[in-house]
């Protein structure tokens, strides 16, 4: 049981280059502390993030996913964040259907001037994923396979 007690989730965050990644930098510059469970992957735009990338990340072992882009209307590429938002809404249904708990995959808007907001988002995403426990739905559990 001690393993579960020490368990720390790993969360992949796909951040758009122009708003959320800059917001994450600002959190650093302002020294807003947040949990170290997050692994940031910079993408040009939240619209670059496909369903495939989210599912693959879960398959690779991510316990949680965060996709964050510019606020509505602020997209550096005009409309990418709208596509991301729509795609995410559809994906939620699929995730629900295949048994991925709501809260594993989150979406947020964080602008370049919202360092504190970014830290808050990471806090709440981390807490949510911690409460859900390790993600196992899409991860091949070799131990289980071998035991059988």
């Amino acid at each position: 049981m001690s393993e579960t007690n020490n368990w720390e989730p790993k969360i992949i965050a796909f951040l758009c280059n122009w708003c959320s990644y800059a917001g994450a930098d600002l959190a650093g510059v302002s020294r807003f502390q947040y949990p170290p469970n997050i692994r940031i992957v910079k993408v040009p735009c939240s619209g670059r993030v496909s369903e495939n990338m989210i599912m693959s990340a879960l398959k690779s072992g991510a316990d949680g996913i965060l996709v964050s882009g510019c606020h509505p209307g602020d997209c550096h590429y005009i409309s990418g964040n709208y596509f991301a938002k729509r795609r995410f809404a559809l994906l939620s249904n699929l995730l629900d259907f295949i048994g991925i708990e709501p809260g594993r995959v989150s979406f947020s808007w964080v602008s370049a001037s919202e360092g504190e907001q970014f830290a808050e988002v990471v806090h709440s995403v981390t807490e949510r994923v911690k409460a859900l426990g390790p993600a196992s739905r899409l991860v091949k559990q070799l131990d289980a396979v071998q035991a059988a």
């Binding site: 650093g28 020294r31 550096h76």
Partner: protein, 1005 residues
């Protein structure tokens, strides 16, 4: 015709910025620096306010760029000794003192300093600790070349006595016989950026400075905090090396002091400087920490400053409105006792481990001599005198000044002025652009096709910014074992010039074909490292950064182990990502050589004129039917110069300039394109193609409401400052009849809804009160204020007001003034904290100093150009400190009140700065375009057309066979088509699913 070279005197941040702007817009720059290296005061700072950025980290890339720039001729240890001629063709004589170490031969190995037996006080560390007579002033110095200190070198003073350095120098760089050299330089213009010195508090015996070792100046304290300073960033007090737990800052030492010092002016920066030090010192402290600031007025009047002040208060920094009477030893332990009188007039004592003196800024003595030699006028405080309406122009045509040599000012203001000076110099020299310059040629790029990955990983300590939290050695060791990595190492500062040079040789020696730097953010440092790759013959896209500072060490300060584990993951992810990246082409777009300026106020007109005078066509768009904006509503500036004649003259110059066309009653309805070629459509349906844009839409006055209304709009005797200005301009005879006037400051500013200072209102209100006194010297005037923020030389006005008998009463948010009307008379109630009593005044004029806020349309305009706004709705610049007029979006610039409230002289400087930055793009025929573009694998394409639908730039279409094709020149690399493709037929070069998923997988290895 003018000469196409320019002389810049002073290698601090202002001189460096001016040199870079001029060199990047087609002029040859001779940069003359008095000491052995450029960097100036900023290189001595630990952190910078209000962002707490590491000073060395943000400065270093600029210094390196300057040092490596093809069109900057850097002359260190040099002084301008004579200048003759006129604008366009000056002849300058520059004398270069000997360095005694040949910079061509010196490899900065440091052996000379190691063996040098002569120890001298370390001037870079403000005299704390020692250096040798053979020395390098600081680790990131540019140029990175040692020098012999002629004052202390044994051989130079007694030839034949020592000479150890010459014996150990393998490069044979030591040359004791070197003599001074003189250069005669022909230049079209001169930019002075000689900087400032700090007041020496030794004569102020009440401070104990010089007698008590634990009393230090703020610059000394900065060195104590700095990771490259005498105690390596572990804060220690000088007397015993103990970590101080209680520190006091004394403000206005050598500023606002006519009595003992003769400096009537405010040094502008010290309040924020002290706040920053209090916050950073707390970060350094382990456990309990107490900081107190003793001040007269907290002057946090810049962008983001008031928030910083509020946060410091929340973090427990204590504030005492008091001038300290004396600092004496508390006991034998080195602790200090402060005696001061608090606001209620009570004598108090407090004990501290250390005292920091916030010493003021002053002009260097040699700057005064330089000004005399050049025949420049100085002002009463010995600063170089400038024109109210041309804030970088000196009294001699063709010579410009920027930075703190003309008035105490902070870094962003200095940087703005530097760019403004570049614009002014560029105006004179415009016809000679590109006549004296040469072009940088990169080595041929290595063809890495079919090569196995050979990845080099460079892990940065960033002084102690990263290494105090993350075990960087462990990260580098971890990196070495990653697939494809053949080399890894740690560096103290990866962005310093020596490391950069070393990186070039390591890439070559190790045959690296991909590079990862684990340090700060790619947003600030990627260009520098990519340039380094090019210098080493590698395509610049074979590079990734792992952000282990901004997104790791700075946000997990209390969890070093987890932060180290995260850093290892981040490096592994960057390595995985770079492994499958390929070389990309350097695409360019042709530049449309014209500019759009939005906003016809003084700022917009100035920017338009500045670009037009550099011979670029400009369209100036104004939403109303006349030019002049807010400036037409203001009577005069604090120096007494009225605005209207200036604005009328400026308007005439703008409307008659052949390169400017003005569109009145016009708004923007659509913007497409990007840097080099924007197409903007106006509300009249016309559209205009332009290479750059300057946004100068101004701000607007807050309309007083709720508890800040004070009967405004109800009682005609209650007016705003602008309404009073209108009466001044109309020479309203009624003003002379006013017997009693009250001004209320900070109406709508510095409150939770608007947590910023409007910067101009203190000065404006006091000047208006002085004007009323001029009209009727018998008038009683009361100023109800929170802090008086007459920063810089505006302080004189405050002194004048008090001398004229104007009464200042401080209020706070818990005791707001109350205004009512009784029996036809106005009644103002306020609490005077000095007499601790309520006062009542019956004014016949009540003036409200209302806040300045952004215009509502600023937000929608920012969306057209994809620029950011801050939480208050002001436009957000690319970097608060070093890119104050740029946006993160290339080719778009900002100036004036839409950026932050500011007086007209600063708005003019910023407008010129924006013009200079824009000219850097307009000077070229083509600018770099997106290299990361989408690419289709036709065999996979099903021709569904979804990619065509989602592309916001119309860059994707279906060809005659129904297969998707990308028009590369129109693609911005957002990846919407990639994510949208159902059959995985579209990818983004170097940001394909392959690279992204490799990075994700690497986090779980």
């Amino acid at each position: 015709m003018s000469n196409g070279s320019v002389l810049v005197v002073g290698g601090g941040i202002a001189g460096v910025q001016a040199a870079l702007d001029l060199a990047n817009s087609g002029f040859l720059v001779h940069l003359v620096e008095r000491t052995t290296a450029i960097g100036g005061k900023m290189s001595q700072l630990d952190k910078t306010f209000p962002t707490n950025d590491c000073s060395a980290c943000i400065l270093s890339p600029k210094l390196v760029e300057c040092g490596r720039h093809f069109n900057i001729n850097l002359l260190t240890l040099a002084d301008l000794i004579a200048l003759e001629g006129e604008p366009g063709s000056f002849k300058a004589v520059v004398r270069q003192r000997p360095r005694y170490i040949d910079p061509e031969k010196c490899i900065a190995c440091g052996l000379c300093a190691e063996k040098c037996p002569k120890k001298v006080s370390n001037d870079f560390n403000m005299g704390i600790g020692e250096r040798k007579a053979a020395y390098l002033s600081y680790p990131q110095a540019v140029p990175l070349k040692y020098a012999l200190d002629p004052e202390h070198c044994i051989w130079i003073n007694k030839p034949g006595r020592c000479g150890l350095c010459a014996k150990v120098c393998q490069a044979g760089a030591i040359n004791f016989d070197e003599t001074a050299r003189e250069y005669i330089l022909e230049v079209g213009s001169v930019v002075l950026a000689p900087g400032f010195s700090r007041f020496d508090p030794s004569p102020l015996d009440f401070t104990g400075y010089g007698r008590l070792p634990n009393v230090v100046t703020s610059m000394e304290f900065e060195r104590l905090l700095s990771p490259s300073g005498p105690c390596m960033g572990h804060l220690e007090r000088p007397s015993d090396g103990q970590e101080p737990k209680r520190i006091a800052w004394l403000q206005c030492i050598g500023s606002r002091d006519i009595n003992r010092v003769g400096h009537p002016y405010c040094s502008s920066i010290c309040c924020m400087f002290a706040l920053k030090q209090a916050v950073i010192a707390k970060e350094h402290a382990h456990g309990e920490f107490e900081s107190s600031i003793f001040y007269m007025d907290m002057r946090t009047h810049g962008k983001g400053f008031e928030n910083y002040y509020n946060r410091a208060k929340e973090d427990g920094v204590r504030f005492h409105r008091a001038r300290v009477h004396s600092v004496i030893p508390a006991d034998d332990s080195g602790s200090l006792q402060l005696r001061y009188v608090d606001e209620l007039g009570k004598v108090n004592f407090a004990e501290f481990d250390m005292v920091v003196l916030s010493t003021g800024l002053q002009v260097y003595r040699h700057t005064v001599k330089l000004a005399e030699m050049l025949g420049l006028e100085l002002d009463a405080d010995n600063f170089i005198k400038t024109d109210s309406f041309n804030p970088v122009a000196t009294s001699r045509p063709g010579i410009y000044v920027c930075g703190a040599a003309s008035e105490p000012k902070d870094i962003p203001q200095s940087v703005m002025e530097a760019s403004a000076a570049a614009a002014e110099a560029g105006r004179i020299m415009a016809p000679a652009r590109w006549t004296e310059t040469s072009k940088k040629v990169y080595p041929a790029e290595m063809n890495i096709h079919a090569q196995a990955p050979r990845i080099g990983v460079f892990v940065c300590h960033c002084g102690i910014n990263i290494s105090s939290v993350v075990d960087v050695e462990a990260v580098a060791a971890h990196a070495k074992n990653l697939d494809g990595v053949v080399f890894s190492q740690c560096n103290l500062f990866t962005c310093s010039q020596d490391t950069i040079n070393q990186m070039v040789s390591i890439i070559k020696e190790q045959g690296l074909n991909r590079v990862v730097v684990a340090s700060c953010s790619p947003r600030t440092h990627e260009p520098l490292f990519q340039e380094t790759l090019r210098d080493a013959g590698l395509n610049k896209f074979l590079f990734e950064m792992a952000n282990i500072r901004d997104q790791n060490s700075w946000v997990h300060q209390l969890e070093p182990e987890k932060a180290t584990a995260k850093a290892k993951d981040l490096v592994a992810m960057a390595v995985a990502r770079v492994r499958s990246e390929g070389a990309l082409p350097y695409n360019t777009v042709p530049v449309t050589k014209s500019a759009l300026v939005i906003g016809g106020g003084v700022t917009g007109m100035t920017a338009a004129l500045s670009m037009a005078e550099q011979n670029y066509p400009v369209i100036l768009v104004e939403q109303s039917e006349c030019l002049g904006g807010n400036g037409r509503k203001v009577y005069r500036n604090w120096k007494g110069d009225t605005f209207l004649p200036f604005i009328n003259e400026l308007t005439a110059r703008v409307t008659t300039h052949p390169q400017i066309s003005v569109k009145y009653n016009t708004e923007i309805s659509e913007v497409t394109g990007s840097v080099g070629k924007f197409i903007t459509t106006f509300s009249d349906g016309h559209s205009f193609e332009h290479g750059v844009a300057v946004i100068a839409v101004g701000g607007q006055a807050y309309q007083p409401e709720e508890e800040w209304q004070f009967l405004h709009g109800i009682d005609h005797r209650v007016q705003t400052l602008l309404e009073l200005d209108q009466r001044f301009m109309e020479e309203d005879a009624g003003l002379k009849e006013v017997k009693q006037a009250v001004f209320i400051h900070c109406v709508g500013s510095r409150i939770p809804e608007r947590p910023y200072c409007s910067r101009v209102c203190c000065t404006h209100a006091i000047d208006s009160a002085v004007k009323l006194k001029e009209l009727n010297p018998e008038m009683d005037i009361y100023m109800l204020y929170r802090d008086i923020r007459t920063y810089g030389q505006r302080e004189r006005l405050y002194q004048e007001a008090r001398a004229k008998g104007i009464i200042f009463v401080c209020y706070d948010l818990d005791h707001l003034p109350h205004v009512s009307e009784r029996d036809g008379r106005l009644l103002v109630h306020a609490h005077d904290p000095i007499i601790d009593a309520n006062i009542s005044i019956h004014p016949d004029l009540l003036v409200l100093a209302t806040a300045i806020q952004p215009r509502e349309q600023t937000g929608s305009l920012s969306k057209f150009f994809k620029c950011a706004v801050d939480s208050q709705g002001f436009l957000l610049e690319a970097h608060m400190k070093l890119r104050p007029v740029d946006f993160a979006t290339e080719g778009v610039f900002l100036a004036g009140l839409c950026h932050y409230p500011k007086p007209m002289e600063e708005a003019i400087a910023q407008a010129k700065a924006a013009a200079a930055r824009a000219a850097i793009i307009l000077a070229y025929d083509a600018v770099p375009a997106e290299s990361v573009t989408a690419v289709v694998t036709p065999a996979k394409c099903t021709g569904c057309g979804l990619c065509v639908e989602v592309c916001a730039y119309h860059a994707v279409s279906l060809d005659e066979n129904g297969i998707s094709v990308v028009t590369t020149s129109m693609c911005k690399g957002c990846g919407a088509c990639v994510a949208g493709c159902r059959s995985d037929a579209v990818s983004l070069k170097n940001i394909g699913n392959e690279q992204i998923m490799a990075a994700v997988d690497a986090a779980f290895m």
